[in-house]
């Protein structure tokens, strides 16, 4: 554990605390300061990406709870993003419900459908379960394409700027604060989950589900609950995205299997079994492709014409190589990398 030596907890309260040492509080303070400083100093292009990262992090946290902590692989994240997005968009555009209510209903609906598609978890394990979630994803994405009543014949649903408590949220800047608060709460909720008995039960299920059953953990019920939580969070993220300025048009092409793989990549690169890992992964998987695109655009202004024509190919290849390279270096993800960095400085000048 990356805490200082000589830290002893004398009460249960202190043992359960989120931060144990002063160093950790300082780091947290720095992080908060960074989060507040960013919107004033990033240009709108990168601030937009920061918003996308925050949105993705919500779904990534959910997925990490399911896959990292409970050990159930899910390839259906994109489908549930879509459930949330379509529900929220439909409720506001066609039935004129206020945005917060629509988002809440969308989240609950996604959670309910997630529980339904999570039922195979009662019988299947490992890759077999993963493929049944793959099936769920294909079914959902197919329904989005086929059910014309979702879009009232227009092909897509478009929402307008949301008004929360009378204040309209139009710009990237305003959205940043909204998303920062929301994602912060979700991350906090995620971390708290694993301080409770339910969280520990999830971890027990991942490690040895038969032994957990023997110990009294209602494995079946909790597996479905884990699916419910993950899909609910994905729905929440999707619903919010339906109102976000650059993704206000809900179209089925955005909720296909490729996107699910990106989320799985997020939690693996970020670090399985770590809430902060989910956030790191979201940052990595959103920012790296954008950065590569940026490099490509800068090159376009020079005269490396060959590279520009092949920009998409280069992006794809580079991205794949970065992913592979990263995992070869640290298969346990960014969270572990950060852990190792902290340990290195803590123990320095000793080696271990």
């Amino acid at each position: 554990m990356a805490t200082a030596t000589g830290v002893y907890h004398t009460t249960y309260r202190k043992d359960l605390a989120l931060r144990h040492t002063r160093a950790e509080y300082v780091r947290l303070g720095l992080l908060a300061a960074l989060a507040v400083w960013l919107p004033f100093n990033l240009n709108p292009y990168w601030l937009g990406y920061a918003n996308l990262i925050l949105l993705a992090a919500i779904a990534a946290v959910g997925l990490n709870i399911l896959t990292g902590y409970t050990g159930l692989i899910s390839l259906a994240t994109a489908g549930f993003l879509g459930v949330g997005a379509y529900t929220a968009a439909n409720l506001t555009t066609f039935y004129h419900w206020p945005m917060p209510v629509a988002v809440l209903v969308a989240t609950l609906l996604a959670a309910a459908i997630g529980a339904l598609f999570g039922l195979p978890a009662l019988r299947l394990k490992g890759l077999y379960l993963a493929i049944s979630t793959f099936a769920a994803q294909e079914i959902l994405s197919d329904r989005f394409r086929d059910w014309k009543w979702l879009v009232r014949g227009h092909g897509t649903v478009t929402t307008s700027y949301p008004t929360i408590g009378g204040h309209p949220f139009k710009s990237t800047f305003e959205w940043y604060w909204l998303l920062l608060v929301i994602t912060g709460l979700v991350v906090l909720a995620g971390i708290n989950l694993f301080r409770t008995g339910l969280g520990r039960a999830f971890i027990a299920i991942r490690d040895q589900d038969i032994a957990a059953e023997v110990m009294g953990v209602p494995v079946g019920r909790y597996k479905v609950l884990a699916f419910s939580i993950a899909c609910g969070l994905a729905g929440f993220s999707g619903a919010l995205q339906a109102y976000y300025p650059t993704t206000q048009t809900v179209t089925w092409e955005n909720y296909e299997i490729g996107r699910s793989f990106i989320f799985v990549a997020m939690i693996i690169v970020g670090g399985l079994g770590s809430i902060s890992g989910a956030v790191y992964g979201a940052i990595f998987m959103t920012w790296v492709p954008a950065y590569i695109t940026r490099i490509g655009q800068t090159l376009q202004r020079s005269s490396l014409h060959v590279l520009i024509e092949k920009l998409s190919a280069v992006q794809l290849t580079l991205f794949g190589l970065v992913l592979v390279g990263f995992l070869l270096v640290e298969p346990r993800g960014l969270a572990r990398l950060w852990q190792r960095a902290k340990d290195y400085f803590r123990i320095w000048p000793f080696r271990y």
Partner: protein, 292 residues
């Protein structure tokens, strides 16, 4: 009746190609317990290499196919040696992610070298129509595809049953440590598994391109159906891939035609989940006995 026959043959042909692709996947899984998400890209690279050898370098088609298969083998070996060997012992999901990264990189390279538009390539199997019963006319290349696939599958089956290396592979799949004790070089078996997967991928890719008439990016998309096939048949069963391939191929064709295109996606997957609920390890998969 005409329609039914056409669809059946079509479904069998697609199923045969799926079976070959799934075969490579199962080989890797059986020997190394790695789930290879880059199998579709093996199809893609293999097909494009054959196209390149035949069209760009002007080699006659049997040589071109050999070149393509050879490239598939080399690709598999390279991946196993340079990348997968370093990932031994890591969590299954990390390894899956590595294969996904590889898939992305391979797609990118193919895109960069050959562009996004499909190339109209030569068909390596006779095209034209074959007149069957009554007024049923099917494309000859589909029947050839089923034939070629059957030959390959039987060959692989015999390989596993009769040859020393095949038996060694089965031993490693069963119990790695016991195999090592017997003197089997496990690393070499891993390499062989990947090489075979690359080779069968290349063959599958060429067959697919020959049927579709074009060498294009759809080839890698085809491989997404490998997963239902493999799961249906059982992750570690060669017979299962054949049965699974045929079932999925036929189901997709029938539902596409008699129902609608959407059903052709839902029905096979729904059937898959239904079968899994009855047989959680697939039709022919080895039932895992878990010990606590």
């Amino acid at each position: 009746m005409t329609r039914f026959l056409t669809l059946t043959i079509n479904g069998l042909a697609n199923g045969a190609i799926l079976a070959i692709t799934a075969l490579g996947f199962v080989l890797i899984y059986k020997a190394t317990e790695v789930i290879n998400f880059a199998q579709g890209q093996f199809l893609l690279v293999g097909a494009y290499m054959v196209y390149n050898a035949n069209q760009t370098w002007g080699l006659p088609w049997p040589v071109a196919v050999a070149v393509g298969v050879g490239c598939g083998v080399l690709l598999g070996l390279a991946i196993e040696r340079l990348i997968l060997r370093r990932m031994i012992g890591e969590s299954a999901l990390s390894v899956i992610m590595v294969t996904i990264g590889l898939a992305s990189a391979m797609s990118g390279v193919v895109l960069g070298v050959w562009g996004a538009g499909g190339r109209r390539g030569p068909s390596f199997i006779p095209s034209g129509s074959v007149h069957l019963v009554g007024d049923v006319s099917v494309a000859a290349n589909r029947i050839w595809a089923v034939g070629v696939a059957t030959v390959v599958l039987i060959a692989v089956g015999l390989f596993f049953q009769r040859s020393r290396h095949g038996v060694a592979m089965r031993a490693v799949a069963d119990d790695q440590q016991a195999a090592m004790v017997q003197g089997i070089n496990v690393n070499r078996v891993f390499a062989m598994a990947w090489a075979l997967a690359g080779a069968t991928g290349a063959i599958g890719g060429v067959l697919l391109a020959s049927i579709a008439g074009s060498y294009g990016p759809e080839i890698e998309g085809f491989a997404i159906f490998v997963f239902p096939v493999v799961i249906l048949g059982g992750l570690d069963s060669v017979l299962g891939t054949v049965v699974g391939g045929v079932i999925v191929g036929l189901l997709v064709e029938y539902s596409k035609s008699y129902l609608t295109v959407s059903w052709s996606v839902i029905l096979p997957f729904a059937a898959l989940v239904a079968i899994l609920l009855v047989k959680p390890y697939g039709l022919f998969g080895q039932v895992r006995i878990e010990r606590v």
